[in-house]
């Protein structure tokens, strides 16, 4: 087909796409590069070095960041896990339980945490916790994270579930499987990639959150984002760039895992 006659082609669209990628990646690449800068000045290049990574792990503030990282990861694991369980049940109830009155309202409720701006959620949650007298700290962060992780876990799980033929359930039951066996041997294995994606998404969203955590964390308890934010307020230091680069690396690893899990799931179909 002659390129100029192809209705899928528009001049300049490739350029704009590349521009998007430059805008998206330039800051990350620059920070990653400068995290290996030997010079303590953030403006001048002083040769390649791992010193800021050593600083992150063994420096003056290492203890603070390690505690914050521990909080971040444990909260993300628990919040992601709890949200995934709740979201899986909800997806089965929405997608595999026929039509019912209030399905639209149910979906609206499920997506409420995505739809509300984070700052609003943060304010509402803080006011609620203070009204019921909940002490702010690790527990309050975990609770808030479970809530806003639910829709993020729900979406990939429900999408996956919608792609699984209803006939599989029926075929299993036709072949003498009880409801539980049909779920255990057929639906669950087929849904697994969706559940993994849902968990990973919820995990990252929890790890990523700053605004809500900042409101409900109370004094003394920090997660990585709040700790970094506090440090950045004093100016961008090279060790922060090293820490950021580490988190960048972790995120990319997780995306890659999620990508391959999704891919493995799709070729099986």
């Amino acid at each position: 087909m002659a390129r100029r006659n192809d209705v899928r082609r528009y001049p300049g669209f490739l350029g704009i796409t590349l521009f998007c990628l430059v805008v998206l990646y330039a800051p990350l690449v620059v920070v990653a590069v400068y995290s290996f800068n030997a010079s303590p000045s953030i403006t001048l290049w002083g040769g390649f070095s791992f010193r800021w990574y050593e600083e992150v792990f063994f420096g003056l503030e290492a203890e603070k960041f390690k505690r914050a990282a521990w909080n971040s990861v444990t909260i993300a694991l628990m919040a992601g896990g709890a949200a995934t369980v709740i979201a899986t049940a909800a997806a089965l109830g929405m997608v595999r339980a026929g039509r019912f009155r209030g399905k639209g309202a149910s979906f609206a409720l499920l997506s409420l945490p995505i739809m509300a701006p984070e700052i609003v959620t943060a304010v509402a949650t803080l006011i609620f916790f203070s009204l019921i007298g909940l002490t702010l700290g690790y527990g309050s962060i975990l609770l808030a994270h479970i809530v806003f992780c639910i829709p993020f876990a729900y979406l990939p799980i429900a999408a996956r579930l919608e792609g699984i033929e209803g006939a599989f359930d029926e075929a299993a039951q036709d072949l003498y499987a009880t409801r539980w066996e049909a779920f255990r041997f057929i639906l669950l294995p087929l849904l697994a990639p969706g559940i993994v994606s849902g968990f990973l998404l919820a995990f990252i969203i929890s790890l990523d959150d700053f605004i809500i955590t900042n409101f409900v964390k109370g004094a003394g308890v920090e997660t990585l984002p709040t700790a970094i934010f506090g440090a950045v307020k004093q100016g961008i230091k090279p060790d922060i760039m090293a820490l950021s680069t580490l988190m960048l690396g972790i995120s990319i690893v997780l995306v890659t895992i999620s990508y391959f899990v999704g891919k493995a799931g799709s070729t099986r179909r």
């Binding site: 029926e170 039951q173 066996e181 041997f185 099986r268």
Partner: protein
């Protein structure tokens, strides 16, 4: 697995299915015999799949009894009914290989492992897929998937096999080959097959008996010849094969048939007890029972269109009273029709060919 005795494989007594205000299946009673290839035939939306799904247990009957070899199964969930289904899109479990798919039903029935293995091998041999046991369904062609679905449904030893338009996803050649194989498999397995299709050719070639359905109702049950030659009503006559439906007047009735008047000419229709002389009714006349000859009185018209179809010629004739009929002439012995397009012709109808239908 058979109970012996004289009980029918499946018996429906006054079965009704309603979805809210919509009646998907009107009150229906009939029996499917032991060891029979039985087909539910009808256009989409006629209730045939609903009926099949009620036998399988996926839909609950709103009223009536469904008996399997004499036992009422209406209250049983699908996993407790000794019937298996071949699904339209096969519904092969994508995360299991062929052998695991075939074994699944027996695994759920807690059949001992060695026996499962033996019967999986048997079932795969039956469908000639012994070498594909370790493949995933996605690595198989449509025809192979279809065979796996069959093996999976037959392996647990069901009392009745249900097939929901299993050939509709295959291309024409494969579909034709599978018809023969399916019939063969039914004979070998010795159980009743209940086959749902909208394809009349499929139904006619495979079935021992056919139930023709329309708008939630069974219109006629009979073997292929009976529903083609002796359609019970307009719908069946029109749906099965091609036909001319013409308004006629009954001239006389007699034991060897009724004389009918069509545009001034008289013909002999198949006998029918409940028609009286002078009554107006509808006759179904198959195109291949009509012959065109050079004009010689009787029923005459103009040959408007002649279409070459390879094995046949299809002729459209405008009768002198303005009505249209079609005729088929076999393209045998290289003969040409005695009349050409635009010419006048006399129309002969085989004696006893017109079927009088209830109005």
């Amino acid at each position: 697995m058979k109970d012996g005795g004289q009980a029918d494989a499946v018996e429906l007594r006054g079965v009704v299915k309603r979805y809210g205000a919509v009646t998907a299946l009107k009150e229906t009673s009939f029996a499917i015999r032991d060891n029979e290839f039985f087909t539910l035939l009808g256009p989409s939306g006629c209730g045939k799949t609903t009926l099949l799904r009620m036998i399988a247990g996926f839909e609950e009957a709103s009223a009536g009894e469904i008996r399997l070899y004499g036992e009422d199964i209406a209250a049983l969930p699908p996993n407790l009914r000794p019937v298996n289904t071949v699904f339209q899109q096969y519904a092969l479990f994508p995360h299991m290989n062929v052998a695991e798919n075939v074994a699944f039903g027996m695994r759920m029935k807690k059949v001992p492992k060695p026996e499962i293995e033996r019967r999986v091998a048997e079932a795969l041999a039956l469908v000639k897929l012994e070498d594909f046991a370790a493949r995933r369904p996605s690595q198989l062609s449509g025809g192979q998937q279809q065979r796996v679905a069959l093996a999976r449904a037959l392996a647990p030893g069901p009392k009745v096999l249900l097939l929901d338009e299993p050939l509709s996803a295959l291309d024409l050649k494969l579909r034709q080959a599978m018809r023969v194989e399916l019939k063969e498999m039914q004979r070998k397995s010795g159980i009743a097959f209940v086959f749902v299709t909208h394809d009349q050719e499929e139904a006619l070639t495979m079935s021992d008996r056919i139930a023709v359905m329309s708008a939630g109702e069974v219109r006629q049950i009979g073997d292929a010849q009976k529903i083609y030659e002796e359609p019970a009503d307009r719908f069946v006559a029109d749906f099965i094969g091609e036909t001319n439906l013409l308004e006629v007047e009954v001239a006389r009735t007699g034991p060897e048939g009724a004389a009918i008047r069509l545009a001034g000419a008289e013909f002999i229709a198949a006998p029918r007890a409940d028609v009286k002389a002078g009554e107006k009714t509808v006759a179904s006349i198959r195109p291949e029972r009509i012959t065109l000859v050079a004009p010689a009185g009787g029923l005459t018209g103009v040959l408007e269109r002649l279409v070459y179809l390879g094995t046949d010629w299809a002729a459209t004739i405008r009768l002198d009273d303005g009505r249209q009929i079609t005729a088929r002439a076999q393209n045998a012995h290289g003969q040409k029709l005695p009349v050409g397009p635009g010419e006048r012709a006399t129309i002969l109808i085989d004696e006893g060919a017109p079927r009088l239908l209830p109005r």
